[in-house]
């Protein structure tokens, strides 16, 4: 079983379109949507949810106003600006802003009156589902929540066990944009990272940073240039950069309106039509799926 993650650094380069196409082409894989902030893969794979699980983030502080004497110790020790002081009828009132609380419990331990409790809250959900193309593991992080890295790790773990249980050959991970916590959680321990880039200055800049991250964690990396014909000079520069850095460029996909059309129809593009775009995606998949893990 091999795990392949699709990332890009920059958003909107086509990660989800590629991931959905790979899931449709693989026929023996598990799809894992690790963009838990803004999960879109379901719009192309239409999963039927079989299992639903709650995701609990770190418990957050709450102040019991009956016990609180207003000493202000919590405000002093909180480094995240989560304790807010208000004045009511000339006496101070201390409140926790749950959006700023990072659940460190320092106030809980520091309060001399034991007036602070830590309350666990549901901060998301994750699912094991079935799609036309095989199983899918996905999630939904609650709005404004933290710990997306932890939720990504849960999705990854479960996608892996589903693949092992059912004897499937691939886990196809649709990764989030950026290079931070959820990207690192999507990358760790995968067999291959496919970077989807585009020939724009932002695309190149962001690709270089995300490749550095993949290398930092020792992940084997290959690249795919999407919409390569938008700027041939930049595409040439990407290829040169990749050659210098020993990153194989597995494919060049032309810009084509059929991609947006397939998204509107809600179908992975390789299932929607046959053209240059889908031909190139298939070639990349064949190359990736035939390369045996090291």
């Amino acid at each position: 079983m091999r795990q392949i993650v699709i990332i890009s650094g920059k958003g909107g380069t086509g990660k989800t379109i590629i991931a959905a196409s790979f899931a449709a082409l693989a026929k023996n894989g598990v799809a894992a949507d690790c963009d838990v902030d803004a999960a879109d893969l379901y719009l192309l794979l239409h999963p039927e949810i079989k299992e639903r699980h709650k995701f609990k983030g770190l418990p957050k502080a709450e102040i019991n106003q009956v016990k609180c004497t207003g000493c202000g110790r919590c405000l002093e020790v909180c480094r995240f600006g989560a304790v807010k002081k208000q004045v009511h009828d000339r006496s101070p009132l201390f409140l926790i802003d749950p959006l700023s609380c990072e659940g460190c419990k320092v106030c809980y331990y520091a309060c001399p009156e034991d007036a602070i409790t830590m309350t666990e809250s549901v901060s998301g959900e994750w699912f094991i589902s079935e799609t036309k193309y095989g199983p899918m593991v996905h999630a939904r992080l609650g709005i404004a929540e933290e710990n997306s890295g932890k939720l990504v790790a849960i999705v990854r773990e479960n996608a892996r066990s589903v693949a092992l249980e059912r004897g499937l050959d691939f886990v196809i991970v649709d990764g989030p944009p950026g290079i931070g916590c959820p990207v690192i959680a999507s990358l760790s321990g995968v067999d291959l990272a496919l970077i989807v880039t585009e020939p724009t200055l932002s695309g190149i800049h962001d690709m270089e940073r995300v490749i550095d991250v993949a290398r930092h964690f020792g992940v084997k990396t290959v690249c795919l240039i999407n919409k390569y014909d938008i700027n041939l000079e930049n595409s040439g520069n990407i290829e040169k950069w990749c050659e210098r850095n020993k990153i194989p460029v597995l494919g060049r996909i032309p810009f084509d309106n059929s991609v947006s059309e397939s998204v509107v129809k809600g179908i992975p593009i390789v299932e929607y039509m046959h053209n240059m775009v889908t031909q190139r995606i298939k070639e990349v998949w064949w190359e990736i799926s035939e390369v045996k893990g090291e």
């Binding site: 958003g11 803004a38 989030p176 724009t200």
Partner: protein
Amino acid sequence: MIVSIASGKGGTGKTTVATSLALYLNGKGQNTVILDCDVEEPDSALFLKPVLNKPKTVDIPVPTVDFERCTYCGRCAEVCAYNAIAVAKKTVLVFPELCHGCGGCALFCPEGAISEVGRDIGVVEEGDASGIKFVQGQLKVGEPMAVPLIREVKRRGIKENKEIVIIDVPPGTSCPVIKSVEGSDFVILVTEPTPFGLNDLKLAVETVKKISIPFGVVINKDGIGDSGVDLYCELERIPILTRFPFSREIAVAYSKGIPIIDAGVEFRQKFEELYDTILSIIQGGL
């Protein structure tokens, strides 16, 4: 006044709108500041080409143990909510990448054996882009924690009330987005008219509603998809501030790092329209 440019989905055109709005305001003689809070992938500089001062390292406090004083009582590990410090028989292990820098271990160590040292998580850079004050953060490669760096970018960029601050926000809906947007007077949500754009717009709307900041939508790449975003905005009574059509010419200009406002006269008018609408919404709401 602080205006944030956000979107759930990546690649919809946040940086395009943020940089061109800053150029428009600067051109009008407004005192303009732009903050690139997308510290994981900061791209505003590619369009504004600022002259930057020497980068300043940003660090967060992590514990270091004085073994002369440590009695291996385990209190630090007990209070750490992130499992960033562990006590074994005759040693204490610190896992700096898990540490949030809350200071609990140092505060509660009964022997005073823990002090804190800075751990470098990235840099903040300040500069000038033809009159626009520019601040950006760059997260160090391999570093998971973006929020402390975002805080530092905002601390440096938001000084007095005279200027207009434009914030380029990272994609998504979780904590880095909230930390970037918090304190703004208005949020522009940039979306594209596709099912992906719509799905992520709905999430972004929920996020902004949660922190109660007035907002409106900019539709970018208008014409590529369907009418879902329009219908949703109409139903939810969300103002559509302006639209930028999809065209190959704009895509090519973008690929070269040319700000959209410089790609044609009609775009200058669109930014004027955008800014005037925002002003009337903010003033109308007061």
